[in-house]
């Protein structure tokens, strides 16, 4: 078995008195697309923030590429796309890409080549010299994805990449994610669109700060005798609620 790209062990994260992650264990094998699903407020974003070193856990450990997070230098190997588009709206698409390429520490000689590449991937080549304030919602989303691809990181962390995206674009984003996976990248995607969870290699169900179920979609379907991830999720969630009420 290859070493995990992401490894979180017994992670405890509290904001004040509110426990967000409780004894949370999570491993991601290289070359996989993992879908992290859970109701809003379940701690999906907190998982991502801990992996990026934006938050640190009160207990337990988080490793990325075998190194303990937070670690600033490691961030050059991680591509990150947040829930919000997070673009500089007064700059053009190209200037945004240029800026983040420099922040990522991309070799100056390779910057323009990479910009060409990532913008071709998200089909924005013709729009690169327009200001992003004039972009449509879908175009902003695509540019945001392109930025996360800069630096050719081995791990992509995408927080709800398909929110507010029309079906055609959603399909093309997923096609691209599969292609990246086939190139050997490891991808962590959060979503609350259940049919997207069918497209991942492994689905992780995060409910009330704990990892309740983790496995290939097909295996989970067999285990729960259900035909969709959505039904499985609802089952797991209701089990969790009854467990809680028994306590």
């Amino acid at each position: 078995m290859k070493a995990s790209v992401v490894s979180m062990k017994n992670v405890l994260k509290k904001f004040g008195d509110q426990v967000v992650l409780d004894d949370f264990d999570f491993e991601i094998q290289p070359g996989k697309i993992v879908g992290l699903i859970g109701p809003s407020g379940s701690g999906k974003s907190t998982v991502i923030h801990i992996l990026l070193g934006m938050e640190s856990a009160q207990a337990g450990e988080a490793f990325v590429f075998g190194q303990s997070m937070p670690d600033r230098k490691l961030l050059s190997r991680i591509g990150y796309m947040a829930q919000t588009d997070a673009l500089y709206e007064r700059l053009t698409g190209r200037e945004n890409l240029q800026f983040f390429a420099e922040m990522k520490g991309v070799d100056p000689a390779l910057v323009s080549e990479q910009i060409e590449h990532v913008s071709a991937v998200v089909e924005l080549v013709d729009e690169l010299d327009k200001k992003t304030s004039g972009y449509s919602g879908g175009m902003k989303r695509r540019l945001s994805l392109a930025i996360s691809l800069l630096g050719n990181g081995d791990l992509l962390i995408l927080d709800e990449p398909t929110v507010g995206v029309d079906p055609a674009l959603r399909q093309s984003i997923w096609r691209e994610l599969h292609r990246l996976r086939d190139q050997g990248k490891t991808i962590l995607v959060t979503t609350h669109v259940m049919d997207e969870a069918e497209l991942v290699d492994d689905v992780a169900m995060l409910i009330a700060g704990k990892l309740r179920e983790y496995g290939q979609p097909d295996q989970l379907k067999k285990k729960y005798h259900e035909s969709t991830i959505e039904n499985i999720f609802l089952k797991v969630e209701s089990q969790n609620e009854t467990n809680v009420s028994h306590i």
């Binding site: 990026l52 070193g53 934006m54 938050e55 640190s56 937070p70 670690d71 600033r72 230098k73 490691l74 961030l75 050059s76 991680i78 990150y80 947040a82 829930q83 919000t84 588009d85 997070a86 673009l87 500089y88 709206e89 007064r90 700059l91 200037e95 800026f99 983040f100 420099e102 922040m103 990522k104 520490g105 100056p108 200001k131 930025i147």
Partner: protein, 368 residues
Amino acid sequence: MRRTLAISKRVTLELLRDKRTLMLMFLAPILILILMKLVFSANTSVDVKVATVNVSDGLVQQIDKMKGVKAVKFDSKKSAENSLKNQQVDGIIQSKKTDFYVTYANTDPSKTAATKAALNSSIMVNNVTELKRTLSKIQSQLPMQASSSTTQHVKPKIHNDYVYGNSKTNFFDKMLPILMGFFVFFFVFLISGMALLNERTSGTLGRLLATPVRRSEIVFGYMLSYGFLAIFQTLLIVLFTVYGLGVEVVGNIFNIVIVNVILAFVALAFGILMSTFAKSEFQMMQFIPIIVIPQIFFSGIIPLDTMAHWVQVIAYILPLKYSGEATTAIVMNGENLWSVMSPILVLILFLIVLTALNIRGLRRYRKV
């Protein structure tokens, strides 16, 4: 270094694309300076009309001779009071026996002061005239040789010489060195604070911190671009006041620029720090009356040594006091940078502390 430059390039580019904010930074100070110049060089003489009741003719004439004061005789206190009520006169002077009773409208303190002054000096002049008359009466009864030395009284002529400016120098000139710093502080504080707030709320700060950028590189990148902005703003303000408004700058203009750039760095660091306590742009605006406005009062526009001691203490924690001190010395006394080193050093101390706090403060958004 590469990242610092890239951040400053990006911040500058964003600023240059925001034409309105740019106009605000460069044209608003000019507009305000023009207005202030007009307001403060306006004719400051007052016109006062005083009612006199039962006052001797000599004194009434004497009051009337005073500059800007007109005395009108009234027959009774009652009719004078009526005029006062209808705002036809600004005061009533009533003589009873040897004393004077004065009623002021007091709606304009400068008129009240003018009336008081006019009455006092008129009484004095009157007394002097009386005295002279008595003296000359005595003289005429004295032997001739004794009188020769006292009869000659030549009124001395006063020759004025100004170390700074000329006879037209007024309060505006005193305020100008401080205002220059204030404009730099105000705009840099507000715009940089808003910019960083915007980075936070739009999520770009999060995305930035998800790259291997150092926290210090972000702060230094901002400093670099706002430093340049402050240089241009200061140059524009200084050149405009010197050549457009004709204000005299005794010292070296570049020394002023240096002081103002350091002040801009302080304002930037202050703005970034305060932006972390604001949730929205409106909340950022709320810092103006708390942090920006009080600095004007303690910046030296009103002499600090006239204030109560505990109030003076407040001034020592306000950066504008130090920049005001340094620029005033450069503009009015032509001091060089060495002689204004102590306020500059205090500003640099402010800068180091605030910058360290900012770099530290970004830890809230990334733990490393």
